[in-house]
Amino acid sequence: MTLKKIMIGTASCVALTAGAASATDMTIVSWGGAYSASQQAAYHDPYMEANPDVNIINDESSAEAVAKLRAMNEAGNITWDVVDVVASDAIRLCDEGLALEIDADTQLAPAPDGTSASEDFGDLLVSDCFIPQIVYSTTFGYRTDMVGDTPPTTVCDVFDTETYPGKRSLEKRPINNLEWALLCDGVAKEDVYDVLETEEGQAQAFAKLDTIKDDVIWWSAGAETPQLLADGEVVMGSTYNGRLFALIEEQKQPVAMLWDAQVFDLDGWIIPAGLPEDRQQAALDYIYFATDTQRLADQAKYISYGPARASSAPLVGQHAELGIDMAPHMPTDPENAKNTFLYNYEWWADYRDDLDAKFQAWLAQ
């Protein structure tokens, strides 16, 4: 093995791999796991079929999207074309001028019956930059074999370590956790944000979380809770409802949903501001394609999230592989949505910095 051989080997290896990327790459950022897989099947594959010269690259960086977009903006070099973010991140990106403003009626497809896109999406257009894609909810799943004969029925059972001993997994951020803590500490649903605005209210929420702090495993990626549940590492845990659906219906794990006090949230697309004209046009073209009524309904075949367009709802059918009806697994199904909690975007946009800092300090103590 001489150096010469190594160098020749290296050079040919580089040459080989460099030659492979000839089509136009489009980097689409999303969350990974089952969610990205559903987007691949419902949006990316059909789009690439219709546009053979486009090669979609998946990036699973949505959790760090705001940081990375800010870094790219600073350099004036945006490497992402379309980014899947939750509504609150979209608001933040829009506020900071990091996302492109979209005119729903001219840049998005109307419904098949001619209803304009802005009407079809309705209230879900929470920011000028945000193109809603799904309605999902953050809710709890529990191990049916680890809760004895009395399965948990309300979200407050999460705080009941007497009846349900064992670890629970919660998201490593204040959003949702503080609301649940207050709800289970006797605060009425409609007062939650008023209480949370005060120092005392925040202290009350943290005090409630303190009661289970030693029993919590904190997650930061949506796939962690399903994994922890499957391994039996936790008895119950919060995550996105679609992840639990995959765990229960596809992987047949002994897990059940606790829909109580599920928090509705939106997820959708933004296009980074400052893209070169051709790439921006390509991104807009993709968005137009991927957010029309049929595509949004198609995604529900692969994952149990509700499509964001009103016109897509009747088109939601059966799971692509399992053949089961998807409607009863949607967070918006009346049976599941008996007790839901509305997440206040505006409020969290205002208070996020404050409460993030306090939450992190609380975690570290």
Binding site: V66, W218, D350
Partner: protein, 423 residues
């Protein structure tokens, strides 16, 4: 050479007729130049790809242009305001502020400024966001002061204005103060509220955990190094493979292995339950806490302790211990009084190396450390990618860097950089 030039008959000449001294000097200069020319490309490369980035981080830890860039007029107008009077700034300041805010809101800069000021005074972020939404609709003919107070009563608070004034300079010690749980106030440096103090204890925890890991490495590494250096070459070479294989195995492979082993339902717990040492409910919590971090990192860093210990022990002549014994020392005395002191340099080298490596670890604590087993590095990563408080991340990084450089300097004093050996 000196004797040659001292020769009374005049300078010795080289073949080409120039004095030998000058010729030698020139040769030396050329040699130096050639050496530098060979080093220069790499030096330049490292400067650009590595040293400048580190410098940029140091710069970010004090950089604070955002206030004066976003609110240029306000910052100038506030210069004349004396906050000690306890009175609000005058209308001119409010007018300047209105003008700045209209532009900032138009260019979408005000929320970022709010986030920046929120690091120092909580509530600023929501204040700026709220104000940005309404500043467009303000009546330019009416006094601005009342209109701002109307948007949020915090604008009628002297503290809000003194905070803006305090953080208007282009460079600030604010981030460094935050990194040690302090904050800059008009009255000087103060401790942060108790529920927001985390960094001093986190630095402390990083040190304690790193020290524990170093100590466990020493405890496990010393006997192994001793055995290896006293075995015949053939068997020690064979056993050395057991040390070198983990050393060469990917960090993530080893971390995955520990994740598999340490979980509640993992191999260790299952085995202990199966053979009846533990009850099913009494499974050990070995992961997602400090225990997990210590176990996994001791394993990962152990070779870095064994290798320097081994190379020092290898040089100790066995005759010393034999001499001690023949003079009547017991096995223990011979070891403790004669052998052990000679291994101290190896202990020093290994311990500092392991400590330096441990203190900056990120991946392993992130994966097995939960919340109680994480290091300062994990906070730095959090501030870069999640909270976006890059200034604080830079300040924490700079503090950690200073700590490591001190240790590095110690290492250099004890071992010498040139003596670093690999494999």
């Amino acid at each position: 050479m000196t004797s040659a030039t001292d020769d009374a008959t005049g300078p010795v000449l080289a073949a080409d007729g120039t004095p030998l001294k000058r010729s030698l000097n020139r040769a030396l200069r050329r040699q130096k130049l050639r050496a530098l020319m060979l080093v220069a490309p790499l030096l330049l490369f490292i400067l650009i790809t590595f040293i400048l980035p580190i410098g940029d981080m140091l710069f970010r830890s004090v950089e604070n242009q955002i206030v004066s860039e976003t609110l240029p007029r306000t910052v100038v107008a506030l210069e004349d305001w004396d906050e000690t009077t306890g009175e609000l700034p005058d209308e001119a300041v409010f007018a300047a502020f209105h003008e700045d805010m209209v532009i900032a809101a138009d260019q979408k800069l005000h929320t970022r400024l709010g986030s920046r000021l929120n690091y120092e005074v909580s509530g600023m972020s929501s204040l700026f966001r709220k104000t940005g939404r309404r500043v467009d609709r303000m009546d330019t003919d009416q006094p601005f002061r009342d209109q701002f107070i109307d948007v949020d009563k915090d604008w009628g608070d002297v503290e809000t204005w003194s905070a803006i004034k305090l953080f208007s300079p282009e460079y600030t010690p604010g981030y460094f103060l935050n990194s040690v749980d302090r904050t800059l106030t008009p009255d000087g440096i103060e401790k942060r509220p108790e529920d927001q103090r985390i960094y001093v204890s986190l630095f402390w925890r990083t040190m304690v955990l790193s020290f524990t890991i170093t100590f466990s490495c020493l405890l496990l590494g010393y006997p192994v190094a001793f055995l290896l250096s006293n075995l015949p070459l053939r068997s020690s070479n064979l056993l050395m493979i057991l040390v070198l294989l983990p050393f060469w195995t990917s960090l993530l492979v080893r971390t995955s292995a520990w994740k598999v082993l340490l979980q509640d339902q993992g191999v260790i717990n299952n085995t202990l339950v199966a053979i009846g040492i533990l009850s099913d409910d009494g499974r050990l919590a070995l992961i997602n806490n400090a225990t997990g971090t210590i176990i996994a990192m001791t394993h990962i860093l152990l070779p870095f302790m064994i290798l320097p210990l081994f190379s020092v022990m290898k040089t100790i002549p066995p005759s010393y211990v034999r001499a001690a014994k023949s003079l009547g020392a017991t096995d223990w005395t011979a070891f403790w009084r004669v052998y052990f002191p000679q291994t101290v340099p190896g202990i020093g080298a290994g311990a500092i190396l392991v400590f330096i490596l441990a203190i900056g670890y990120y991946i392993t604590p992130e994966l097995v450390g939960g919340t109680s087993g994480i290091f300062i590095s994990n906070r730095i990563a959090y501030h870069i990618s999640s909270s976006l408080n890059w200034g604080l991340a830079a300040a924490l990084g700079s503090t950690l860097l200073a700590l490591v450089l001190v240790l590095y300097w110690l290492y250099d004093k004890i071992v010498g950089i040139d003596n670093v050996k690999l494999g």
